[in-house]
Amino acid sequence: MRIAVAGMLMLGVVARAAMAQSPMDEGERLYTTICQGCHMSKGEGATGAGTYPKLAGNPLVASRQYVAMTVLMGRKGMPSFGTLPGLSAQQARMLASLTDEQIAAVVNYVRTHFGNDYKDPTTAKEVAELPHPGGKGSGRAG
């Protein structure tokens, strides 16, 4: 697993072209290269002077909208991953912005791993209906 992650890093930041052929599911890829930095490899979270909440067995993960909203908008130490209107692909990547498709994939990944077993996947369409950073209200500005 750890080795696979190292491989992903290379794919992520050196040779992303190979990504398309990667057998790793998009949700897993995003989790292991981004979310895992804070929520840890088994979704167990971590505590020091403050806490990265666990996602494993976290009752709040029951709501797919809650998870999607958190990823989109961020809050406190949780960065916002929603794509701002008008970003180029390159900007979006540098800001670690994710598309609605990617957010749906990682939300579904989190809600079906680490002992979570929710049967109601979200979709890119549903994510698109939620408020996005820079936009007012729901829907997708720009």
């Binding site: 290269t33 804070c38 020091g48 002077a49």
Partner: protein, 540 residues
């Protein structure tokens, strides 16, 4: 492939500018972009805090540069001060890792640093420019010696995997060839009537003359190889003395190749106000500042005290903390006033009865991701083989930066390089790796610039700031909207509580922001104390 090319196109500066424009909510770099435009430090010498009723008490949370600056000045003015600090050392982000130190990041990965005696990595701050007067004064007052930090090394590299077959180019060559070609083009334009609407005949003469000097152009205003040009970009066959020493000029890289290489993107890094000479570093590591400060303050700092709640009422502020040196026992501290310098991702999780504006501001500021990897090598091959003494190499590889030690030049022993220094998505991806994987990845990539890596590597230390138990990030990320909406609220005195720190400044990511924010905050508390006449009056 496309992605890779995109990355190549994107210099750090470009990004900063680009992100400044889009002002993204998750703009990892945005705060960095404001650094250069913050203007001179507002530091105006140690504050005058006379006149408070003797024994007025202040509790300071966090013993970083901000907290210790506040504590130091308040105590000198006769306040009764106590500092609560989570770590078992003073300094916070001001820190140097040395051989024998051990560090456990969030998630439990522990690193035992194996560096040789006197070698170190600055996982956080590493440079102090000449106009950060508060930091420089602090060093002077604490007796911390300074030495030059080499920001620009003409003999270090600019590297792009897509340019010159991936072979690193000397900064000097790119810098002068780029400048020469631009000068030549501008001279050409001036010689046609293209600029006639812009410059008078007389100005045009001056312009042409200046271009000739600036760009080392020849008598026909061409940028071509020759003695003149080699006096800047170096010679193909070196000059020397005696019969064997007749030099041969170096060749210049063509305009097309220079432009296409995109290596010019690495040049403006040193144009930033905060990157201009003279820049300093403390002798022995940046952590010397925090260490000296901790010694100076002595027993008023309570270490291993993890603050868990902050409550104010009309009479004062009560803070609950876990005493980690005493099995996590729940303890309490109280004072009339409280200066809170705890980084926002942590503070946002600590119950604190302040107004909704401050609470909202605390929750609105995310923290950037950053990685620094220190690599100890068996010998200083960058000096011995490549004549690189200090300074920085920039690359489009994810490792971003290679920093060479700015001290102990020509040392015979081992040396520690900064092998990776990055922000943004690449930093998040590195954060997701174990420390050992980060080091291996840094070695693998860096070997494309310094092939000596595999042979000479000894050991390493990898810092991922989002895994830092005491900050949960590198620095607060502000954008223009957040500034407009939250900055004043974040800094305002709320009853008996005031925030200070890097995040409460226009110099985010600089220690000077911590110093000046702390002085500003305690100045406002002092004002309130003096006008109320008593620390025990109904303040809130």
């Amino acid at each position: 492939m496309n992605d890779q090319t995109d990355r190549v196109a994107t210099s750090r500066r470009d990004l900063l500018r680009m992100i400044g424009v889009t002002a993204g909510a998750s703009a990892m770099y945005q705060a960095m972009s404001t650094l250069g435009h913050a203007g001179e430090s507002t530091y105006a010498g140690p504050p005058d805090l006379q006149g408070a009723p003797p024994g007025t008490s202040v509790l300071v949370l966090g013993a970083g540069i901000a907290g210790m600056t506040a504590a130091y000045e308040l105590q000198k003015a006769g306040y009764k001060v106590q500092v609560l600090e989570f770590n078992n050392r003073a300094g916070g982000r001001n820190w140097s890792v040395r051989g024998g130190d051990s560090y456990t990041e969030l998630g439990g990965e522990r690193q035992d640093c194996q560096f040789d005696k006197d070698l170190y990595l600055n996982p956080g701050p590493w440079r102090i420019p000449y106009h950060h007067r508060g930091m420089l004064d602090l060093c002077r007052r604490l007796g911390v010696k300074l030495e030059p930090f080499v920001q620009v090394n003409h003999n270090a590299y600019l590297h792009n995997t897509e340019a010159f077959g991936g072979k690193p180019q000397r900064y000097r060559d790119v810098f002068f060839d780029y400048q020469g070609h631009v000068a030549e083009l501008l001279a050409k334009a001036a010689h046609t009537s293209a600029l006639d609407a812009e410059v008078s005949t007389e100005d045009k003469e001056w312009l042409l003359e200046s271009l000739r000097e600036w760009g080392t152009l020849d008598k026909d205003f061409r940028y071509v190889a020759g003695a003149h040009v080699s006096d800047r970009r170096g010679w193909k066959k070196a000059r020397g003395g005696g019969l064997s020493a007749r030099p041969t000029p170096s060749e210049v890289v063509s305009r097309h190749d220079i432009l296409k290489s995109r290596l010019w993107a690495g040049i403006p890094n040193s144009f930033e106000y905060d990157m201009q000479t003279t820049i300093f570093q403390p002798v022995g590591g940046m952590g010397r500042v925090g260490e000296a400060f901790g010694r100076e303050l002595g027993p008023i700092i309570k270490y291993q005290a993890k603050v868990t709640s902050i409550t104010q009422d009309a009479r004062g502020v009560t803070v609950m903390y876990d005493d980690l040196a005493d099995g996590g026992a729940k303890k309490q501290a109280a004072a009339a006033w409280c200066v809170v310098t705890i980084p926002l991702p942590i503070l946002g999780q600590i119950p604190m009865n302040v107004g909704p504006k401050l609470t909202t501001a605390i929750a609105a500021i995310p923290y950037a991701s950053s990685i620094k990897v220190g690599l100890q090598f068996k010998r200083r091959f960058w000096e011995e083989d490549e004549q690189i003494y200090g300074g920085i190499t920039y690359t489009n590889l994810p490792i971003g930066t290679i920093g060479y030690p700015n001290t102990d030049f020509q040392g015979r022993g081992k040396g520690v390089l900064l092998g990776c220094y990055i922000w943004g998505l690449a930093a998040m991806e590195f954060t997701s790796l174990t420390p050992e994987q980060r080091i291996q990845e840094t070695l693998r990539q860096g070997a494309r610039i310094h092939p000596q890596y595999p042979q000479e590597f000894d050991n390493g230390f990898a810092m991922a700031w989002h895994r830092s138990p005491f900050t949960m990030g590198c620095m607060g990320v502000w954008n223009d909207e957040a500034r407009a909406e939250h900055y004043d609220n974040l800094c305002a005195l709320d009853g008996r509580i005031v925030l200070a720190g890097e995040h409460a400044s226009f110099m985010g990511g600089w220690q000077e922001g911590s110093v000046t924010s702390a002085l500003d905050a305690i100045g406002r508390i002092h004002q309130r104390v003096v006008t109320q006449g008593s620390s025990k009056g109904a303040g809130a």
